[in-house]
């Protein structure tokens, strides 16, 4: 592998904000983890379609939740066999533009919506339990956006600016990566009361450029996918910066496995505009120790099974059974890792 970092042509995202270059990961000589993708892991009823696969998460029973930009933004539940169970939140006021779904230890379902600037907590049956943030009013119609270069307004305790992801510590405190407009991580207590926040826009340690994903480990450390800065920033439970991992490309999303030995997965996703130059140097997912040591990687950019086209959601409740949602492929893949075969090539045949 080449040592040098390749800077790509600027990748323009949906809204032209933020601008950053998807980069080749600095880490070298990473073992490939053999894997399969389960064919047709999710069975959608007729006339029900996934759109952009934005968020995917499992609960303790193995049910799978998919938060998707379909015609409207929608939240679907599937059982552990992939059979469709139900839709949650039809026509919900807070569903405008999906960004993440995560399930907490009590199987509550949390949706993060970057269109409504809201985080919505559902109980396991789909009833709304709590809200953070507020959908902007549109009483007077549409308002033109600020001119290019306008600095973002100061972040407010209870106002989210295109939030991206959510996690919880063992006490139930809530951490939100916020987001495209704000550039911070916010901590609330379990009742949604603001505690503190950290971060402004920038590239210095502790600053952020599109904190795009977030996970919390068992000790309460907060891992932030600081995508535009091509690094993972690790904060302790009080949001004090503890470490920076800048060797795994541009992290789009993270997940952390449960259990006594936790692993961190991070996706150096193939950018959503599918630039040709990035195809060969992005698309892979890294498996890491919590201290940043890379254990292995898998996957590459592409549209076929076992290839990834802009991973946006990762679920790793089971260390070797990952759920991966992709933006531009409009799908969710169930990935079975075979780490014990790490030195052997494997076939690409799909299981099941």
């Amino acid at each position: 592998m080449r040592r040098f970092q390749v800077c790509l042509a600027v990748v323009v995202l949906l809204t032209a904000l933020p601008l950053y270059a998807q980069s080749k990961a600095k880490v070298q000589n990473v073992p490939e983890i053999p894997f399969d993708s389960v064919a047709n892991a999710l069975k959608l009823p007729d006339n029900l379609y996934l759109g952009e696969g934005i968020g995917v998460a499992t609960n303790s029973k193995g049910h799978v939740y998919v938060y998707t930009r379909s015609g409207a933004t929608r939240l679907f539940e599937f059982d552990q066999t992939g059979a469709f169970v139900k839709e949650i939140g039809q026509g919900l006021y807070g569903f405008l533009f999906a960004h993440a779904v995560r399930v907490d230890k009590d199987d509550n379902i949390w949706a993060v919506d970057e269109g409504s600037n809201m985080v919505i907590k559902f109980d396991p049956t789909g009833k709304v339990l709590m809200l953070i943030g507020r959908r902007p009013e549109a009483v007077e119609g549409l308002e033109a956006g600020p001119p290019a270069g306008t600095p973002p307004p100061n972040a407010q305790p209870y106002a989210l600016g295109r939030p991206t992801d959510i996690g919880w510590d063992a006490q139930g405190n809530i951490f939100i990566s916020d987001g495209y407009t704000n550039s911070r991580v916010v901590k609330y207590d379990k009742f949604g009361k603001f505690i503190k926040s950290v971060g402004t826009r920038g590239a210095a340690p502790g600053q952020m450029n599109t904190p795009h994903g977030l996970q919390v480990d068992a000790k309460g450390n907060v891992y932030v996918a600081d995508r535009g800065n091509a690094r993972i920033q690790v904060f302790d439970d009080n949001l004090v910066l503890r470490a920076i991992y800048d060797h795994v490309g541009n992290p789009w999303t993270l997940c952390i496995t449960p259990g006594p030995h936790q692993y961190l997965y991070s996706s150096n996703s193939y950018p959503d505009s599918n630039p040709a130059a990035a195809r060969d140097i992005t698309g892979e997912v890294y498996k890491m120790e919590l201290d940043g040591t890379v254990v292995g990687k898998f996957g590459k950019a592409g549209k076929q099974l076992k290839e990834f086209s802009t991973i946006h959601g990762l679920d790793c409740r089971n260390e070797n059974e990952l759920w991966v949602s992709e933006i531009t492929a409009w799908r969710v893949q169930k990935i079975i890792l075979h780490p014990q075969q790490a030195t052997k090539p494997t076939s690409t045949s799909a299981a099941r």
Binding site: Y93, Y158, A243
Partner: protein, 394 residues
């Protein structure tokens, strides 16, 4: 590959700005002696069918049978592109529940005027009145849910407004509206620099036009004769009186802070004598007008009134909510008062848990000891059972 930072990073707390934006009063003038009214919140009072969700609940009201009507911002206001004009529909729904909280039905499915809910009120004949802030409409339904009358007219289309930089901190604005709940019609255009002659009279902001031209109306009430009173609203700053058939009679008020001036008259309630109680939110007061819209008095000691309610019966009480602003959970309590402004007690606080309030937007006090509150930011209705005040220290 990785860099461990021993740097102890000072968390950048951008806290205080949230308070600066809100003009919410931290406390009313005479609150220290106010007794607390103990209360319970009935768990899961409203039972919503599967696949049906409340959004923000600006409106809740009961009829004479105890049925509960909820006017909620739910679903998505849909904009249809039509060249330079954009046409809108949907965005709010009206649900009816029975006295036990069981779902009965939806009223006004797909109706032209449900864009951005503001309140629902029930008159003595159990007609259902809906005020929609974006449609600039007051809609009267009969008890069966058929349209009987409309006042105002929905704008034909909406346009894209130019970008407005964020407002300066609210400390610098006289009586600014609480953060996040829309913007008022600013303080008026500057008078032109006339040359010669007397300076032009300053424009009267928010007086509105005689008739039905609402600008983001907020609430509705009736006197014993059935005359209709509308608080109007965010854009206008006035109270309008119509007869029971919807014929314009008179109006009063414009933007300002003096008597008969308003800064977002956000709620309205009537007593049995036909007096009008206005939640003059931006001015942190309840203004009381007589039936002919003359100024009578004002109550300055109950924080920032978002909504008011007057209970029925021979001994009427006035409830007023010092709701927490959207951007914080300060305040949030509701005051129970005599009609003359004497405070009986207070209850509640801002927050997301049961017995806490997320920006109470309407109170129903048909039963003064079993009231309903609709909350904006908690997307729910709570039924509150009030008990006797713990102590009377007044």
């Amino acid at each position: 590959m990785k860099r461990i930072l021993t740097l102890s990073f000072v968390a950048l707390l951008i806290l205080t700005a949230g308070h600066a934006i809100s003009a919410q009063q931290q406390f009313g003038g005479a609150q220290l002696a106010v007794p607390e009214i103990p209360f319970d919140s009935v768990p899961n009072f409203l039972k919503l069918p599967d696949k049906m969700y409340l959004g923000e609940v600006p409106g809740v009201a009961t009829n004479s049978k105890g049925h509960v009507f909820v006017y909620t911002r739910t679903g998505t206001m849909t904009a249809t592109l039509g060249g330079s004009r954009v046409f809108t529909h949907d965005g709010s729904r009206l649900f009816e529940f029975d006295e036990k909280g069981a779902y009965v039905r939806e009223i006004g499915v797909g109706i032209y005027g449900f864009l951005f809910a503001h309140v629902v009120r029930i008159d003595p004949q159990d007609n259902i009145w809906v005020v929609d802030e974006a449609a600039n409409l007051v809609m009267k339904f009969d008890p069966n849910g058929r349209i009987l009358m409309t006042i105002g007219r929905k704008p034909e289309s909406i346009n894209v407004r130019n970008y407005e930089p964020p407002a300066p901190p609210a400390g610098a604005r006289a009586g600014g509206a609480p953060a996040g709940e829309g913007r008022g019609a600013g303080a008026g255009g500057a008078a032109g620099a006339g040359r010669g002659g007397p300076p032009p009279a300053p424009p009267v902001v928010g007086a509105g036009v005689e008739g039905e031209s609402f600008n983001r109306p907020t609430d509705v009430g009736w006197d014993a004769q059935g005359n209709i009173f509308v608080s109007d609203g965010y854009g206008n700053s006035r109270v309008v009186k119509y007869d029971k058939n919807g014929v314009f009679l008179k109006m009063a008020g414009h933007r300002g802070a003096g008597p008969l001036e308003f800064n977002t008259p956000h709620g309205l309630a009537m007593d049995a004598q036909g007096n009008v109680y206005i939640a003059d939110r931006g001015n942190n007061r309840v203004q009381v007008l007589d039936n002919e819209l003359n100024f009578k008095t004002q109550y300055l000691n109950v924080g920032t009134p978002w909504t008011v309610c007057v209970s029925p019966g021979p001994h009427q009480y006035l409830f007023s909510s010092n709701s927490n602003a959207i951007g914080n959970f300060d305040n949030g309590e509701i005051y129970k008062m005599e009609l003359d402004g004497k405070i009986v007690g207070r209850f509640g606080e801002g927050g997301k848990q049961m017995k806490q309030f997320g920006s109470v937007h309407e109170i129903d006090c048909r039963d003064p000891n079993g009231i309903l509150v609709g909350e904006l930011t908690n997307w729910r209705v709570q039924k509150l059972m009030l008990k006797a005040p713990t102590s009377s220290t007044q």
